[in-house]
């Protein structure tokens, strides 16, 4: 039965890699700055999911903490970028 | 000193235990001490407290939202892959009159609307009477207004007000 699980993990990891690549294309060609921020937002979610897949493949739970940290910092980063687009300042007086 | 609701304490202790992935006695005690200190600090900063009633309504709302998330994922996937047939997909903004006043209810409503693909919260007017959302596949405006008001707003008003 492990063959099925291995295939599923491979498939999901390939999906996340493709999704990250598509988001990267959007970052490069995005017509406006908000498109790029949105694509960055997608990229950090996909990176977090890829990391979880690595954790599943190596049967270790050490990757969970890294995924949690990526979620935390990715959120802070994309909010700061979006806020900068809104006013040109991240922290307003 | 106001009374701190025990629900918050329990939720924070459960989060601490999940984060440490353990249920040993030492961590439970440590979690209680840390959560109590954090709550005392947090209630100084934000004195507004939610009043929550009728938890069964909240549980039913949770499952309703889960079904809606799956259904609207299928809908958005069809739009993205071009499986909607010949008709043209119109995206648009909808203005919804809102009767809810509680800020915690608005927070949960924002989570529901953003978590459901196909709808995104745009903005709420300053006097909290009109909500603007953006819908990907806009066919009938009144249907969306009825759905948001009947399916999400009414249970949230029952719980939080």
């Amino acid at each position: 039965m492990n063959a099925v699980l291995d295939t599923a993990i491979w498939f999901a990891q390939a999906c996340f890699a493709i999704a990250t690549a598509l988001a990267a294309i959007r970052v490069i060609q995005g017509p406006a700055a908000q498109d790029r921020v949105l694509a960055f937002d997608t990229m950090y979610i996909n990176g977090m999911l890829s990391l979880l897949m690595l954790g599943m493949r190596s049967s270790s739970s050490a990757y969970f903490d890294m995924a949690l940290l990526i979620a935390l910092f990715g959120f802070a980063g994309s909010v700061a970028l979006a806020k900068f687009l809104l006013r040109g300042e991240v922290i307003e007086p | 000193m106001r009374r701190v609701p025990p629900v918050f304490l329990c939720v924070l202790v459960v989060m601490w235990l999940l984060l440490n992935n353990t249920i040993s006695l030492g961590h439970i005690v440590l979690g209680f001490v840390l959560s109590a200190l954090l709550l005392l600090a947090a209630f100084r900063l934000r004195p507004l407290q939610p009043t929550m009633r009728r938890f069964p309504v909240l549980v039913r709302l949770f499952f309703d939202v889960l079904i809606d998330i799956i259904r609207s994922n299928i809908g958005v996937a069809r739009v993205v892959l071009g499986l909607v047939g010949e008709r043209e997909v119109h995206a648009g903004f909808i203005h919804i009159p809102i009767d809810m006043r509680d800020p915690h209810g608005f927070a949960v409503l924002a989570m529901i609307i953003t978590a459901t693909p196909g709808t995104i919260w745009v903005e709420l007017t300053d006097d909290r009477t009109e909500l603007t959302i953006h819908v990907l596949d806009l066919i009938d405006e009144q249907e969306w207004i009825d759905r948001i008001k009947g399916r999400y707003e009414r249970p949230l008003m029952e719980v939080f007000e």
């Binding site: 039965m1 492990n2 099925v4 699980l5 291995d6 599923a8 993990i9 990891q13 999906c15 996340f16 493709i18 999704a19 598509l22 988001a23 959007r26 406006a32 908000q34 921020v37 949105l38 694509a39 937002d41 997608t42 979610i45 996909n46 977090m48 599943m56 049967s59 739970s61 969970f64 995924a67 949690l68 979620a71 959120f75 994309s78 909010v79 979006a82 806020k83 687009l85 | 989060m15 992935n21 998330i69 994922n73 958005v76 996937a77 739009v79 993205v80 892959l81 995206a91 924002a110 989570m111 953003t114 978590a115 459901t116 693909p117 995104i120 919260w121 745009v122 903005e123 953006h134 990907l136």
Partner: protein, 125 residues
């Protein structure tokens, strides 16, 4: 590749959830690339954010529970965190997009007016 021999009750649901999660995420990213306007593109990644992440995290929960022989629930924290904070990003990004679109339109209109004014003055003189 996996070193541990997962039992049947864990590997079958986890495989299904992983395939569904991967497909949903990749369709969301295709939407990010294919949909024509920014406001429509906002809806693509929110598929991956909710259902994709949810499926993968439930699969991870099932597999690590089977691995350690006791219920492991801590992946639920990531789900709760992402569902709680994604409205904040969406709201600020949406407001920034509306603001920037309006500013760009005003600037273009002003430039057009300026060009028209110069054109009429040229025809007068």
């Amino acid at each position: 590749m996996t070193t541990f021999d997962y039992p049947l009750w864990a590997s079958v649901p986890a495989s299904i959830l992983l395939v569904v999660g991967g497909l949903v995420t990749v369709i969301g990213s295709i939407g990010l690339l294919r949909l024509p306007s920014f406001f429509m593109r906002m809806h693509g990644p929110s598929m991956g954010n909710t259902l994709g992440t949810g499926c993968v995290l439930i699969a991870s929960m099932i597999l690590s529970s089977a691995l350690l022989g006791r219920p492991v629930m801590h992946e639920i924290l990531i789900t709760v965190f992402i569902v709680t904070v994604s409205p904040v990003t969406a709201m600020i990004l949406m407001r920034a997009a509306i603001y920037r679109t309006r500013v760009n339109e005003e600037r273009r209109r002003r430039q057009e007016q300026l060009a028209q004014g110069e054109g009429s003055r040229a025809s007068d003189g």
